[in-house]
């Protein structure tokens, strides 16, 4: 039975290809030329003609068109495909696929596409690549057909379903087929069956297909079934939404944590009201930029490792600057914590302006390495890799820091020095060195945060300003001098923020969070994890 279906499927697909190929072969040249003339509307028509031709060359040509790589050579009006090759473009003739030398953008006219055409091409290419030997390509084809169901693809889909061996891709094909059925003039039964398949897929795309079905179907029964299916999908999605909010909260929290954790040392532990903390974060971000810039120009193959290279460097740069600040300014101010506010504010102005003078006032580009781009699904939860890594990274930094402070002699001396500097000195602790190292550590960690934040925010001279207030809030909210407080405080604020945002809107949400902090501090005047005991009085 199965074999039979497979056989008929394959043969019918073959037949389609054969028939159309012979009928239209001669016209490929015309079809391709049609692609390059007229407005977007004409181009759309040309695309569907090209697809209908079933030409083997159709897929690469269309893909090149969608990617903006299809050109007309000005010199001889030949349609070519241009792939970047250093500063030039390596050309090949579109119709034959033969190499056609190289050229520059200036010698060529690009064939323009817009988003709508890209969608059309994607769907078209989808139906053409259903039989691709590459499993990823087949999957993508199914996905794009699902998102952009095209009734003409039904035959190809059936053939593909029959030929498919991978169970998961097969399901994807069947879902795509269901979506296609809903847009076609199939029978009521078929449509009702298709609705079930789509409903079982159960994600946002499915909802979108169902909504479209509700809008377009005329048969009341189908319409009702579609409405019911949409409602059920919506219900599942609503359940996931809370989980999604928690995740957003955690990821916002991790950003706050990263930004605040260095401050938890310089301010929380050392008591320096460090207004230049944000600038240390900024230095870390700019270090990342410089590293990437060097890599881009000199070692492009290392790009994916750029952040890993930047991390130790950012730590060093910010740490060394921090040590310089401590030695040059802060050390004269111990015992006068309020004066550190004034000095570090001045310092932050100087650092900002210095960066502005060196790197210019505008944003600098920091790219995402491959492992930090894109997203994956966890159930109906979309988790972006970038955010995931930031969460992981912030926890790592946090854990390391706790270890350093709790388990190493240096950590012990740091705490001793900040609690009673003269006495620590009398105990034989080299206070100047410990002070410098502590401030350097806090600054270095801020630098690390800068590397992470460069992935989600502007790399500009103002970067630090955007985080300084939040950082202070987090440290104080968590309880000054308590690292765990910083962790819990950051996460709590992140989650509260993300639960408020959908209801109150971003602006009001933020205001409410601030009011919440004010009220909370009334309840716990020394933060979330207050230090207790007699010594605190």
């Amino acid at each position: 039975m199965f074999f039979l279906r497979l056989l008929t499927g394959v043969s019918s697909a073959l037949a389609v290809v054969l028939i159309t190929a012979t009928a239209w072969a001669a016209d490929l040249q015309t079809l391709v030329t049609n692609l390059t003339t007229g407005g977007f509307g004409d181009r759309e028509k040309a695309i569907s003609e090209l697809v209908a031709s079933g030409e083997a060359r159709a897929a690469p040509i269309l893909e090149a068109l969608a990617a903006g790589q299809l050109y007309v050579r000005k010199a001889d009006n030949v349609v070519v495909i241009g792939k970047a090759d250093g500063n030039k473009l390596a050309l090949s003739e579109a119709v034959s696929g033969k190499p056609a030398g190289s050229g520059t953008e200036a010698e060529l006219d690009r064939v323009r596409v817009n988003n709508r055409l890209r969608g059309v091409i994607e769907a078209a290419v989808g139906s053409l690549t259903l039989m691709s030997p590459d499993a990823r390509v087949r999957r993508d084809a199914a996905d794009s057909l699902f998102k952009r169901p095209d009734p003409t693809a039904l035959g190809a889909l059936d053939a593909a379903i029959a030929a498919e061996k991978d169970a998961r891709i097969k399901t994807a094909f069947q879902e795509a087929r269901a979506a296609v059925v809903l847009t076609s003039d199939a029978s009521k039964q078929d449509k009702l069956a298709a609705l079930e398949v789509v409903r079982d897929k159960g994600n946002r795309d499915a909802l979108s297909v169902l909504q479209a079905a509700i809008n377009s179907q005329s048969d009341p029964e189908v319409k009702a079934a579609a409405t019911a299916a949409a409602a059920s999908v919506r219900q599942t999605l609503a359940g996931w939404e809370a989980a999604q909010n928690v995740w957003y909260g955690i990821s916002l929290g991790s950003v706050l944590l990263l930004a605040a954790i260095g401050l938890a040392i310089t301010f929380g532990t050392m008591g320096v009201i460090n207004m230049a903390h944000g600038e240390m974060v900024m230095l870390g971000a700019y270090t990342t930029f410089v590293v990437q810039d060097i890599i881009r120009t000199s070692f492009p193959h290392l790009f994916d490792a750029s952040l890993l290279i930047a991390l130790p460097l950012a730590f060093l740069v910010a740490g060394v600057v921090g040590i310089a600040i401590e030695r040059g300014i802060i050390r004269f101010l111990y015992g006068r914590p309020l004066d550190t506010l004034l000095a570090t504010w001045g310092l932050s102005l100087v650092l900002q302006q210095a960066v502005r003078s060196i790197f210019g006032p505008s944003n600098r580009e920091v790219g995402a390495p491959a492992f930090m781009s894109g997203a994956f699904q966890l159930g109906q939860l979309t988790i972006t890799y970038g955010r995931l890594w930031i969460v992981v990274f912030s926890l790592l930094v946090f854990a390391t820091l706790i270890l350093v402070l709790r388990k190493t002699p240096l950590g012990l001396y740091m705490r001793a020095v900040t609690q009673n500097r003269p006495m620590a000195s009398a105990m034989g602790i080299r206070t100047p060195r410990v002070d410098a190292l502590t401030f350097g550590l806090g600054s270095g960690i801020a630098g690390l945060a800068g590397v992470a934040l460069s992935q989600i925010d502007n790399v500009s001279p103002n970067l630090g300003q955007g985080y300084i207030i939040d950082s202070f809030m987090v440290v104080v909210f968590g309880g000054v001098g308590n690292l765990f407080g910083t962790l819990v405080g950051a996460t709590a604020l992140g989650i509260v923020n993300k639960f408020l945002e959908p209801y109150a809107g971003a602006v009001l949400g933020k205001i409410l969070v601030l009011v919440f902090i004010i009220l909370f501090i009334q309840r716990r005047p020394r933060g979330l994890f207050a230090l207790k005991g007699r010594s605190v009085e």
């Binding site: 988003n115 809008n215 957003y248 006032p361 505008s362 920091v366 502007n458 103002n462």
Partner: protein, 404 residues
């Protein structure tokens, strides 16, 4: 050869706005230098007086006063954002100065002492929406903006416009975020959700300044592709894109009156001059820069025409002055003190540039008073004599709003 003519440059070089405005200061320095190479104007050299209002609005007013009263400049090129302009406006009116304002804004204003070389909403927002509606068949709209006056007004105008075009209320989502908003996860998710209603959806973004980079980064990461939900932005230009990896953003749109990628000799010359001036072969150009180029050239022409830098004479001479813009046409100063502009829709390319996908067939005249707002639809501005009025009510036939 008389004493040099002083030209004020009033752009923030520090603080939050420095990121955008510093470039404009540089452009002004370049233009003045070039003009001096050509021998200045009226046989006198030009001299730039640069001050730093530091992104601080009261300081804008103070510095404007300093420029006009202490430095006695002949004209001022400056401001970015309406609040800075509103802050200096009374000063310019009181001291009868001339201000060239180069940034797109929400309209609803026309002052005798200000020349608006940026776009009014109808020179940017409405054509963009038209494009999406006609070419991308968009049916559902997210109007996302920073919570301040420009986005509010623009969105209000757009909302009225869309409804007039038959879009239903439920197909419009409006969302505002605070300045410098940096965590876009929820909002991007919401956009995605709004977009899964089986209708083609687009985002019209009036998100301002720094907030754009994290927004686009989040869009890219969340996998929202332009072919699924295109975003058209009014405040994202080449400078902003210079800070983002644009590959994931391919196909998202912006509406401006100028793109660096526009191919014509005058633009190419300008880009070349700019990159030489800044000694940076990668330095990009953008729309507000072009506005300053136009404004500056118009002012030079007007001074020549008036034969003096006296403000009253120059203000009168300005109207009707036509200079080439960098998009390949000519822009003219209209009686409402706004200029005519082509509207270009561009798609973001992988190299951080825009590729023009559509362009208005001709030049668009600014509607400083929006026809889509009930209280301003009857108002017009015309600074020619005898009307000489920034808010003339055509119904009552009187100057001054309701004109009672």
């Amino acid at each position: 050869q008389g004493a040099p003519i002083k030209v004020g440059v009033l752009h923030s070089l520090s603080g939050t706005m420095a990121i955008s405005e510093t470039t404009l200061k540089d452009v002004m320095l370049m233009l003045i230098e070039e003009q001096n190479k050509k021998g200045g104007v009226l046989g006198r050299k030009l001299e730039a007086v640069v001050v730093d209002p530091a992104s601080n609005w009261p300081l804008f007013a103070e510095k404007a006063r300093e420029l006009l009263q202490k430095e006695k400049v002949a004209a001022v090129f400056g401001c970015w954002t309406s609040v800075s302009r509103k802050s200096v406006l009374p000063v310019f009116e009181e001291l009868n100065g001339i201000l060239f304002y180069p940034v797109q804004y929400e309209g609803e204003e026309s002052s005798r002492n200000v020349f608006y070389t940026g776009a009014a909403p109808n020179q940017q927002a409405i054509p963009a929406v038209d494009y999406l509606m006609n070419n991308e068949k968009v049916q559902r709209w997210v109007l996302a903006g920073t919570d301040y006056v420009y986005p509010r007004t623009t969105n209000k105008i757009l909302e009225a416009y869309l409804k007039q075009k038959g879009v239903k209320q439920e197909d419009i989502m409006i969302n505002y975020t605070p300045f410098g908003h940096s965590d876009w996860q929820s909002i991007v998710a919401e956009i995605k959700k709004f977009g899964s209603a089986g209708k083609k959806t687009a985002v019209v973004s009036t998100i301002n300044g720094d907030a754009n980079v994290p927004f686009y980064k989040e869009l890219g990461n969340a996998g929202i592709k332009a072919k699924d939900i295109p975003v058209v932005a009014f405040s994202v230009g080449e400078e902003e894109l210079a800070g983002i990896d644009t590959k994931p953003l391919l196909g998202h749109l912006a509406a401006w009156n100028y793109f660096q990628s526009v191919k014509n000799p005058s633009n190419e010359a300008f880009i070349k001059a700019w990159q030489t001036f800044t000694k940076n072969p990668k330095r990009v150009t953008n729309d507000p820069m072009e506005a300053h180029v136009i404004g500056f050239n118009m002012w030079i022409e007007a001074v020549k025409k008036a034969g003096t830098t006296d403000p009253d004479a120059v203000i009168d001479a300005m109207i009707g002055i036509t200079v080439p813009n960098l998009s390949g046409g000519y822009s003219a100063m209209m009686p409402n003190h706004h200029i005519t502009k082509p509207v270009l829709i561009g798609e973001i390319q992988g190299n951080g540039q825009f590729d023009t996908v559509w362009q208005t067939p001709g030049l668009v005249v600014a509607e400083e008073w929006s026809p889509y707002l009930p209280d301003s639809k009857d108002l017009i501005a015309d600074w020619r004599k005898p009307m000489n009025c920034g808010n003339f009510n055509v119904v009552s036939g009187k100057c001054g709003g309701k004109g009672k």
